[in-house]
């Protein structure tokens, strides 16, 4: 009672101010210099790593094991350095791997607790990843960068983009089997679904679905998705060559027809209407994508379209990367599940590529116009990398045979296909 009175009389100011005042009261106890240095040493990272404690919690208030406090952090530092190396020296999707890996580096700094709700990375994560907003902004920008001309010129190549989604569903079955029949992994169906979307080869879609279905796996899924997208030139060619004959790879395709500006303007609207009528669960993803594309093709809001393609996507990429990186904390990343995600993701990619190529062979057989089955491999998305790989593999067999334009059709259809697959998975769990 006495205390409460004196407290009140000392602190005329209102709530906020009172808190500050009371904090200042207990701010600091006098210490000797030696004690000060000792205490300081206890706030160093090296002390924290060498002396893991029982009661350390991560950004979400969850206890962190001693391993994850000590060796775990060191291993994560090594992993992010490897990611830096791959991004810089090998050119692996640096635009996302560098922010993600740097976020991972910062997330593993002991004591600083940057992933808590008040920490720098936690603020970013809550700003746009927890609510799935940033991936949508990225999709808006990607939409504004995408040209559907090649697809409109040759609509049926969209079916190649459909086939490649077998990578998603095939690996979903695989993931379920690993969980059901092995003791190594114990993924739920939601987690299996979130992982299998890696086979869609589309970064923002993967992050969006992981945030929605299995946020606890977000870090590993994002890293796997972007790593394998970067590995497209390594993963795809052997599969493409194994499934096609030399003759098939040498097929020259006809130049596409001219596409009217009006078709390009109407296409994103058609997409939105299709989604509205048949798959509303894909509305956030496809709506953002179509908005960006419509802004570009309408031709009357170049200011906005340019902003989406540049400043907005760049700023969002910085934040998305750092925010995703916050999930690379040792205690979240160094778990057996991560290995499973890496394996399943790789399988998903390979299966998607194979399904696309096989669908290409089927279409080639029944089509009147010549179709080079290689372009099916571009159906996995990974725009525009996959289309370039197709063109490169094709040109190896017949120099001068430029398949790039033809591969762009399945490639952008693959983006739509992945979003559709994502929508189906969301609709099952909603």
């Amino acid at each position: 009672m006495a205390f409460s009175f004196s407290y009140a009389s000392n602190s005329a100011p209102a709530a906020t101010q009172e808190k500050v005042a009371s904090e200042q009261k207990v701010e600091y106890e006098s210490k000797s210099v030696l004690q000060l240095i000792k205490d300081f040493f206890k706030t160093t990272g090296i002390y924290a790593i060498l002396n893991p404690q029982d009661n350390v919690v991560n950004g979400e208030g969850k206890k962190v094991s001693k391993f994850h406090q000590s060796w775990g952090r060191i291993i994560m530092f090594i992993i992010v350095f490897i990611l830096f190396y791959l991004a810089i020296a090998k050119g692996f999707e640096p635009l996302l791997l560098i922010p993600i890996a740097f976020g991972g580096l910062l997330a593993n700094i002991p004591i600083a607790n940057l992933t808590s709700d008040e920490g720098m990375l936690g603020i970013i994560y809550n700003m746009g990843i927890a609510n799935e907003f940033f991936p949508l902004l990225i999709f808006m920008g990607v939409g504004a960068m995408t040209d559907f001309g090649p697809l409109l010129a040759n609509p049926k190549t969209a079916l190649l983009g459909a086939a490649a989604q077998f990578g998603i569903f095939g690996s979903l079955v695989g993931a379920a089997a690993l969980s059901q029949y092995t003791d190594l992994f114990d993924f739920t169906l939601k987690q299996c679904s979130a992982i299998s979307i890696i086979g869609g080869a589309d970064g923002p879609t993967s992050i969006f679905i992981a945030s929605a279905l299995a946020p606890e796996l977000l870090g590993a899924i994002a890293v796997a998705a972007y790593s394998y997208m970067a590995l497209v030139p390594v993963i795809q060619p052997p599969i493409m060559r194994a499934l096609t004959t030399k003759e098939e790879r040498r097929i020259v395709m006809k130049t596409g027809r001219h596409v009217h500006k009006m078709e390009k303007i109407l296409f994103p609207l058609m997409i939105v209407m299709l989604i509205a009528l048949f798959l509303p669960d894909a509305a956030p993803l496809m709506g953002s994508f179509a908005f960006g594309n419509f802004a570009k093709e309408s031709g009357v809001v170049d200011r906005l379209s340019n902003t989406m393609q540049n400043e907005l996507i760049n700023i969002t990429t910085i934040f998305l990367g750092l925010g995703v990186g916050s999930k690379l904390e040792a205690d979240k990343f160094l778990v057996p599940e991560t290995l499973g995600i890496m394996i399943i993701g790789l399988v998903a990619f390979a299966v998607g590529t194979a399904a696309g190529v096989i669908m290409g062979k089927i279409m080639a057989r029944f089509s009147k116009e010549p179709i080079n089955p290689l372009i099916g491999a571009a159906g996995v998305s990974a725009v525009p990398m996959a289309a370039r790989v197709v063109s490169k593999v094709g040109a190896e067999e017949r120099p001068g045979n430029i398949l790039l334009m033809h591969a762009m059709g399945p490639n952008v259809a693959g983006v739509i296909g992945s979003a559709v697959a994502a929508g189906v998975l969301l609709s099952i769990f909603n």
């Binding site: 001309g149 090649p150 009217h260 500006k261 009006m262 078709e263 299709l274 340019n306």
Partner: protein
């Protein structure tokens, strides 16, 4: 209480691939319809040749394309300033 995951996943696959194929086939069909409508009501004015566009699409998303000549870049800069 727990389902057999593989069986469930398999069902998801059937549903998923069906929907993906149906929706993209419908899209293919509608692209054809749209093409015919546009061809009929908007006889070809200045056409975008799709030959040139994939390259543009490809280059925008990558940061490594060095195909554009200096002149092209200046023109781009200029047109950007005009538009703004």
């Amino acid at each position: 209480m727990e389902n057999n995951l593989v069986v469930e996943a398999f069902k998801f696959m059937i549903l998923g691939m069906t929907i993906v194929y149906l929706l993209l086939s419908l899209m293919v069909f509608l692209m054809g319809v749209q093409h015919k409508i546009v061809e009929k009501y908007f006889p070809d004015k200045p056409q975008d040749s799709s030959n040139t566009t994939p390259n543009a699409a490809a280059s925008t998303q990558s940061s490594s394309s060095e195909d554009n000549a200096v002149v092209a870049a200046i023109v781009a800069a200029v047109s950007k300033y005009r538009k703004n």
